[in-house]
Symmetry: D3
Subunit: 232 residues, 6 copies
């Protein structure tokens, strides 16, 4: 691994990032063709956390948060700090003091492939955080990693400057180069979902809203009344 | 797998189902001889969710929620939708639009062996839901499964029309044919627990309430004062 | 296993235990040189639970809570009940009636390496509890274990009378013989953290607060402007 | 749970069971419409184990193998013993002495939802075994369960007398009532697979053997030469 | 997701790939600065499997192996097929018939983020395979994915044409653009390891071979004779 | 953590350790009252590995094997190296070069709570090893831990000089102070098992060998002929 800090990577548009955050993880994931989701193991540290911003990435050695200290300096207003480790680690590499430092810089949140601690304090601060674990386990600062290099987290490639969206459903990444088109698709989807919500709220069925009946019949779906079933 | 939708299966008595829901998962589980519990991996999607109803079952292919669309049409007031997958899957096969459609039909909740999404919206709707995961991962509608066939979820066999009870402790199933006797047993247990709660609240010990002292002594339990222990 | 109940083990000082509880799991873990943490799998049963006290230990057979009944009698005001099982078990060996009995005795909380049930009731009672699972699965009372013997939980050795501290970050154990010195170290650390919190709140960086810049450079950390990177 | 031993349940035909065993787990699973597989967590205890027979079921309390002792007496030549526990358990409830006793009775193997021990001895005896874990952890004999009642293992319902097939791919159950038709389907599938194996061995592609090309194109699959891709 | 098949991606040099395979996973992982390892969950399907080749990638929907059929046609002599799924899946998407088809084409092996079946047959064929699970669970062919697009597997980004090396230690990926330099580094490391092996075999210690003594002392490592320890 | 190397701890008797190794993990675990087993997650790295010896312990930071280098120097003929990490870690902290160095010193094997690499080489060397994972992931040597301090591994406390026994069933620890009595108990158990093996081999049942029939009947076990069952 090249132990490097890349400075001033280009960021996606901040207003677009904010708007994607309002639309939410699931909508954005759908809007980009069901890609980019960091999976069910990256969970909000406190219920109701919601944010979006541009990624600053840190790659840490397990049990070592030196590169988070380095990454903080690279963070600007509207960024989301994204922390991966070089191998599986549940330790709490991030806590209240980091959140305090990031809030001062206007950072919008943090996403960690490892653990987090000071959960009560993060909730009190209202600092949005997602992680794979909660752990009080403390860190050393002995081994180098990298900042603002591409990382893989939750099965997704994340590059510095990509948009990160997080809410109760988890976290999704939008590549910087596609933010504009994905935002358009997400807005369109949101409008369509609003229309569908109205229809579902009036008692319509997905079978009709999505025109599924004929296709399911073609695939061979049978309907049998319970009383006509031969009991096994 | 027979790709079939069974219509109009007989349901357990609705009032009995509701009352079992008031008594709660742990009490009902005890009342049926410590059976029927779907285990610790099926968790409430939002804290405080509580419901009961009669099962409508859907069996889905992983990553595919076509059969949930089919199942919604089979759901009536007082049902609980139960979704199993043919192999392990964490994808969010169920979300807000389904909840909207089910609420309109008077459905009491959903239990999923896979994932759920739109957690914030489900909480806001107050729609009770239990699942094995939270995941924004979206679904296709390409592969058939079955509706209202017996399914296995959380190590329990569930037949359409069985009673499903869910709360913060998880989910328990009561076979339709035994609902009456289990309700009686659960009521009796609840009364007994109330009496025991009073006794425990007055400082009595389980050793006495349950008459355990003699039996434990017979099994060979020794009491040794710490100061008489030879330190290892 | 010797099936024994050790009575009247010496306890750590109660006031020190309480104060360690106010300082919290992560601080105490750091104060004892990053040791004693029970790890990320032992989680609070309800968000916001916080306590501290002196350990009364119970070692149970899987699926069997007889020894918890025995242990309750050994608990005094200010104790925390610690329950380990002889092999992995998720069953809900502890619930509301035990909590009621323990509250009467002034017990400060419970930590379980297995499951817990009656989550809603524990939350309503405000009885602090940590566990590895939530499970409605009920217990028998057929097999002996031990009370107030040393146990291992979450990878930590716990002896009766040790101090147990729990909050949203999980649980830490402080050996009885070191409580005084660890409390001093924890107080010192809390003061230092307060000073650091102020500095971070004023925009200082960990790189400077902890004097890391030179060491990281010595280790070989490079800074490269993004625009000077050769794109892969 | 009713603590009962059901004696002399009807068994599926022994010769059919043996033949299903020769055809193997994956073929039988396919032949019954991709159902009945006990999943990837039930693994052979030694590589190359292979068997088939009629199920005798035992339902045990965690950490307790009393009901396996009871079940042995119910086993006949050509049976496979199937052991489930009432809640998750990794303990080694089964070992060499049980295997010795079962071999004498002509039993064909064992499938356990918990752990197994004496792995080296089982391999030396050539006694086929599948389990969810290997564990030396010993058992008590204090709590009743049931024998020859329906159990759920690996997400499948198993009734006494059903056919159990196991090999390196894991274990599949065939309901007794369908053994004849499933055997026919499995033989047909085996013949078809042999023909396909020949075709694949001659360099044909699944796209042609299964006639997939047109359907994939209809679904929208594009082919793009790498050199025509715009590089991201 | 763009449902596309990219044809004729450039491959890394075949001879270099073969040589990296001889050097093995752990050596190659070290040679590229401890990066590229697919982690401990991707395991050889049969003990002793060993291979290397250039990646052809397939991205499948869970429970659906249509894209593996498509990918086979894109495979050439010396390739290794790499299969990822869009969400977690343990199903056996790959088995003996695929292996037969790939062997005819001279393909060197397969790496799957999901499950595999026909384990006994793969071992008998000597077809090298790595996977996250063994599962007999069968697949449908209903949903599109992509072939020869970049995928993430085991926390690593893999591009078509990259070198894949697998042995009993698991799988490592070497980006195509760096194969030459990594091969040089791996050869150098192998020579150095041979020298060190000789030294270790003569009784030298890592403390001396790697010159660690002074640094560990500087870090504060103490040596205390057991008899000088104050017993806790 | 005190970063200390304790030299020359007293060891258990070497001949007793060897004999315990011949008796095997499961027998020794039973002989000490079903205690001391490191659980089902610590598995042999190669099938058939078997050893016993006196523990030299190393406590490492995750991702860092500096203390294994230190520990090697403390190992003597007949020792088994036991490696724990301060938090969960799957990295391959141990491989072929360490095994070479330990073999020269007459060390009997290694047990790791983390990962191991160079599996093929360890098997070829015949060096017995148990671990929680196989991983090629490499290590740094930057952070201190301790050698020959008590550690917890697999839920068991291990002190330097204790006896470690490993085979295909996993690993058990015998405290040094009890080795003599446990060896006697294990020999007695082995003789009893031999007698029981003979009886089981002659067709006797555990119900009779262990005199279980009356007790099970007292507990309420019923026998019901299948044909007398009312079918559900």
């Amino acid at each position: 691994m090249r132990t490097v800090v890349v400075t001033d990577p280009p960021r996606a548009d901040a207003a677009s990032a904010r708007r994607l955050g309002e639309l939410g993880t699931s909508t954005v994931h759908e809007a980009q063709g069901r890609t980019g989701y960091l999976g069910p193991t990256i969970r909000p540290v406190w219920s109701g956390a919601r944010t979006a911003g541009t990624a600053v990435t840190a790659l840490c050695w397990p049990g070592d948060n030196a590169m988070i200290h380095v990454a903080v300096e690279q963070c600007r207003e509207g960024d989301v700090l994204v922390v991966a480790t070089t191998s599986p680690c549940t330790d709490g590499l991030f806590g209240e003091l980091f959140a305090t430092a990031l809030k001062v810089r206007g950072v919008s949140g943090v996403v960690l492939g490892c653990g987090v601690r000071d959960v009560a304090e993060l909730r009190a601060l209202g600092f949005p955080a997602w992680s794979a674990a909660v752990s009080a386990q403390g860190s050393v600062k002995n081994t180098l990693g990298a900042v603002n290099v591409p990382v893989v987290l939750g099965g997704q490639s994340i590059r510095p400057g990509d948009v990160i969206v997080g809410d109760d459903d988890g976290v999704v990444v939008v590549p910087r180069s596609t933010v504009g088109s994905i935002l358009d698709a997400a807005e369109a989807r949101t409008e369509k979902e609003a229309r569908n919500r109205t229809r579902f709220g009036q008692g319509e069925l997905g079978l009709d809203v999505y025109g599924m009946r004929e296709r399911l019949a073609d695939l061979g779906l049978e309907y049998v009344a319970h009383d006509d079933l031969e009991e096994e």
